[in-house]
């Protein structure tokens, strides 16, 4: 059996989880390719070749859909035609666009999990942040310059998300109400509240629309794009997300507040014995967590989408829980995992168009990744790797979440 070094040990299970999920996804692709399988009696070798070819085609399309075709990008850059360049790099930038909110909310989940709080309320905090950004953008329209509106709306979205996150933290600290219950319930309240506002408020609602969506905000305020090309949506929200990853990492591992959060997350009694305030850590962690989710909502509604709608979050809150666990609750890991999820999402769309394999296969693969990460013992036995446990007593949240100074 292999013994694995400490650095590798950290990423071994996640990497093998992804690999295993892709392999199993390949098996499903082969088994559902009935045209190819029909030939198995007459031409077994050809069937085998066809099977391998099918999987390669599918994953090839996925890669191209996620990151673009390198040859095409080079050719386009050589011609210098803006429209060509945009078309060539669009898969990559769209991947980063879907990665951005995943990073924010993944970080949000990581902070709360580190402090021992299971924040299932990312969706609700994101929606409240988006609503606050929408309302403030419309209210501030024409009152202050657009660049100031941009800063104000993102700040207000962050504060609104933080307030929404603070509620379950406060309830837990003061009354012991379990945050899993309260955050899930607050999700319902948030989405129904947004629905209520969008259906009843003439100030926010898009005029003449039959569905509950807000007015277009792009005429009022927009997040500046990173690359100025037609159809490219990638904006500075992505950069802010990366900065937040650095900030969260710094907060967790370099500051006394982060030390308190992690200590309380591992053992609230030991934290209390050491003179820390466990309730304070809960409220702080949930507020920070809600703030990051709210910021994601702000950038989505002001930047990427430009309009508040009920399906804005699209289950980001739940995907973020999965990717935060995949990341071992490490901010750097969150960025990588978010990129993986973003790439799978974008690549899956392209795979569906090119090869007719439904997007559902991607959901299948993503679900497998999560399952394997949640059951590291399974991965260890499949791949016959022997990995020493990181710590004899496992953190409450995940076996891979133990931190270092």
């Amino acid at each position: 059996m292999k013994r694995v070094g400490p650095l590798l040990r950290r990423i071994l299970v996640p990497v093998l989880s992804v690999l295993t999920a892709l392999l199993l996804g390949g098996v499903v692709i082969i088994l559902t390719d009935f045209d190819n399988l029909q030939k198995i009696g007459t031409d077994p070798l050809g069937t085998l070749g066809g099977a391998v070819q099918g999987v390669l085609n599918a994953y090839g399309a996925m890669l191209a859909g996620a990151f673009g075709d390198p040859n095409r990008i080079i050719t386009a850059l050589q011609t210098g035609n803006a429209a060509d360049i945009a078309r060539a790099i669009r898969p990559l930038t769209e991947t980063l666009v879907s990665t951005t909110p995943l990073i924010f909310v993944g970080l949000a989940v990581s902070i709360s999990f580190r402090a021992g709080m299971f924040n299932i309320g990312g969706d609700g905090q994101l929606m409240i942040g988006a609503l606050a950004a929408t309302a403030s953008a419309i209210a501030l329209n024409g009152v202050i310059p657009a660049w100031l509106i941009l800063i104000a709306t993102i700040a207000i979205a962050t504060l609104a998300g933080a307030a929404w996150g603070f509620v379950p933290g406060f309830l837990k600290a003061r009354t012991g109400a379990h945050e899993v219950i309260t955050t899930i319930m607050l999700n319902y309240i948030a989405s129904l509240f947004v629905f209520f506002i969008l259906t009843t408020s003439p100030a926010l609602r898009a005029a003449g629309s039959t569905t509950p969506v807000s007015k277009q905000l792009s005429s009022i305020v927009d997040v500046p794009n990173l690359i100025n090309l037609p159809t490219i949506r990638l904006d500075f929200g992505f950069v802010v997300a990366l900065l937040m990853a650095v900030a969260v990492s710094w907060l967790l591992f370099r500051t006394t507040k982060g030390f308190e959060l992690r200590a309380a997350g591992f053992s609230s009694t030991a934290a209390r014995y050491a003179g820390m305030s466990a309730g304070g850590s809960m409220m702080l962690a949930m507020s920070l967590s809600g703030g990051l989710a709210g910021m994601a909502g702000g950038f989505l509604v002001i930047g990427t989408v430009g309009q508040l709608s009920l399906d804005l979050s699209g289950g980001i809150g739940f995907n973020a829980i999965a990717l935060a666990l995949l990341a071992g609750l490490r901010p750097s890991g969150v960025v990588v995992s978010a990129l993986l999820f973003g790439a799978l999402t974008q690549g899956g769309k392209r795979m569906g168009i090119d090869t007719g394999i439904p997007f559902d296969l991607l959901l299948f693969i993503m679900a497998l990744v999560i399952m394997f990460v949640a059951a590291p013992g399974l991965i260890r036995s499949i791949w016959r790797v022997r990995v020493a446990k990181p710590a004899p007593e496992i953190a409450q949240v995940s076996s891979e979440s133990a931190g270092t100074v």
Partner: protein, 508 residues
């Protein structure tokens, strides 16, 4: 049945846990197996109970070689284990808990024949004077009785060889005496008993033969009729140890801790500390003796700011602190070594360096304006590891990966890393081996000689007698007597603690 292990060797990656260990125990004899934590006792017993397979070596039962593929095979061969941590379903009653996995059935449907099981349990219980109510729920039973249920479980499965792993670790002195009586009666009836412990008194008290393990090998054997505690301790540790740390007479100075008419409620809101008066002076060690559950825990929590007293006054260094929180108290220079170090004193999944700053992280030099100075943290932690002889591969090792003794050294190193005027040490050596006990006692005496006031709360009479300059005995929430260390004996302390053992409300 006669048990013999021959040349058992078991290797784990990087560790030779058992190195050609040979032991034997005759029918009806008690073999005391003595060794420090990490000496290989538990590995050996896991081999005997079928959890591990030895790399080489043989197991003989009544001169027949046996190999155990799994624990079931070991049970069928007559080997019963009583683990240190009980494995009982809390909501079951005794009959259900004992019969679980070996249920007698009365029809083809597999209906549990409770009457038959109950009858057999009552018989066994009477025969070996185990004194267990077969219909009581497990969760309502005191720890000592739960252990008897575990023994019943083994007997119910017709074990002729009974392995007891650190059986007294969770028992009060009185319960331990009762356990000895049960062991003697089992042995008299022909059961072979392996008694694993690191407590010297116990093997001398109850064993017929003693085998001492050290670093995976048999370090020697001894006859309990002639062996002394000192000889056994030296054999265990491999050098001359001091069972009683030498200390000069105390030079008591100013009163540092003063407690007046203190009343404290426990979690069930019952009065646990019932009017305690106590003064502790600089330069003396006051040992608080007593059977577990007589208010010591709540007294310590009140002093350290973890629990608000109902009424009464606590002064530390002249300041009234009964309404203060843990951090305020700690800032006065109060070191607290908690009773449950694994749960309250350390955070197992954090590193030694992080645990080293667990209650000082917010102060200079470890942080400034809320930002940690990791360089200083690492330097100081490395120094602490060196000063306190903490055996660890590095300061980045998780605290939970250390042995109990080294974990306690991390706690002590942290608590003594700042100047202290008062030390509150609750059960500071519980579960530690002889070498670590010596070390911790030495450090406490050092602090005393440097002028700190020391309170040691302990249920171990040996510890109380070894380090206490004065000994206060707690019973039912009161201090029922204070003796000078020189006047205290097992007998007069036992008498003072004794009422607690037989009286009401002592289900510890």
């Amino acid at each position: 049945m006669r048990l013999e292990l021959r040349d058992i060797t078991k290797r784990f990656p990087g560790v030779l846990a058992n190195d050609r260990i040979s032991i034997s125990a005759d029918r009806g004899k008690v073999l005391g197996m003595l060794g420090e934590n990490g000496a290989g006792k538990t590995t050996l017993m896991n081999i005997l109970s079928g959890l591990y397979k030895p790399d080489s070596g043989q197991i003989f039962i009544d001169e027949t070689e046996r190999t155990f593929g799994d624990p079931v095979a070991a049970i069928e061969a007559g080997v019963g284990m009583v683990h240190q941590h009980f494995m009982l379903v809390p909501v079951f009653d005794v009959v259900e808990a004992v019969a679980l996995g070996a249920e007698t059935t009365k029809d083809a449907l597999g209906t549990f024949d409770r009457a038959a099981a109950r009858k057999r349990i009552v018989e066994l219980s009477e025969r070996y004077k185990l004194d267990v109510d077969p219909d009581a729920r497990i969760e309502s039973l005191p720890v000592g009785v739960r252990q008897r249920v575990e023994i019943l479980k083994a007997l119910y499965r017709r074990s002729d060889i009974l392995v007891l792993d650190e059986p007294s670790a969770v028992l009060t002195p009185y319960e331990t005496e009762e356990l000895y009586a049960i062991i003697r009666s089992l042995a008299a009836d022909g059961t072979t008993i392996i008694f694993i412990t690191h407590k010297l008194n116990e093997v001398l008290e109850v064993a017929d033969d003693i085998v001492v393990l050290r670093r995976g090998r048999v370090a020697g054997t001894a006859d309990p009729k002639t062996a002394t505690r000192q000889e056994l301790a030296n054999m265990m540790v491999g050098r001359d140890v001091e069972l009683i740390v030498p200390k000069g007479p105390a030079k008591p100075g100013e009163v540092v801790l003063s407690i007046e008419q203190l009343f404290v409620r426990d979690d069930r809101l019952e009065m646990a500390v019932n009017g305690v008066d106590l003064e502790v002076r600089a330069g003396e060690i006051v040992a608080v003796a007593g059977v577990q559950g007589n208010g010591q825990t709540e007294l310590v929590e009140a002093i350290t700011g973890l629990r608000t007293p109902d009424s009464g006054a606590i002064s530390i260094g002249g300041k009234r602190t009964e309404k203060w929180g843990p951090r305020q108290v700690s800032n006065l220079g109060v070191a607290h070594i908690p009773e449950d170090r694994g749960r309250d004193g350390l955070i197992s999944p954090m590193t030694i360096a992080e645990n080293y700053i667990l209650d000082t992280y917010h102060e200079a030099p470890y942080s400034r304006n809320g930002v940690l100075n990791l360089k200083v943290v690492r330097e100081r932690a490395a120094q602490g590891v060196k000063d306190f002889d903490i055996r660890t591969p590095s300061i980045d090792t998780y605290a939970g990966a250390l042995s109990g003794g080294n974990q306690q050294k991390v706690v002590v190193a942290r608590e003594f890393s700042v100047p202290v005027q008062l030390v509150i040490a609750a059960q500071p050596t519980r579960g530690l081996d002889v070498g670590s006990i010596e070390y911790i006692h030495r450090r406490l005496v050092e602090q005393r000689d440097a002028g700190a006031a020391i309170v040691i709360v302990s249920t171990e009479l040996d510890e109380v007698l070894a380090v206490g300059d004065r000994i206060a005995v707690m019973y039912a929430g009161r201090i029922v007597g204070i003796l000078a260390g020189d006047d205290a004996t097992y007998e007069n302390l036992g008498l003072l603690m004794g009422g607690a053992t037989y009286g009401e409300g002592t289900a510890a």
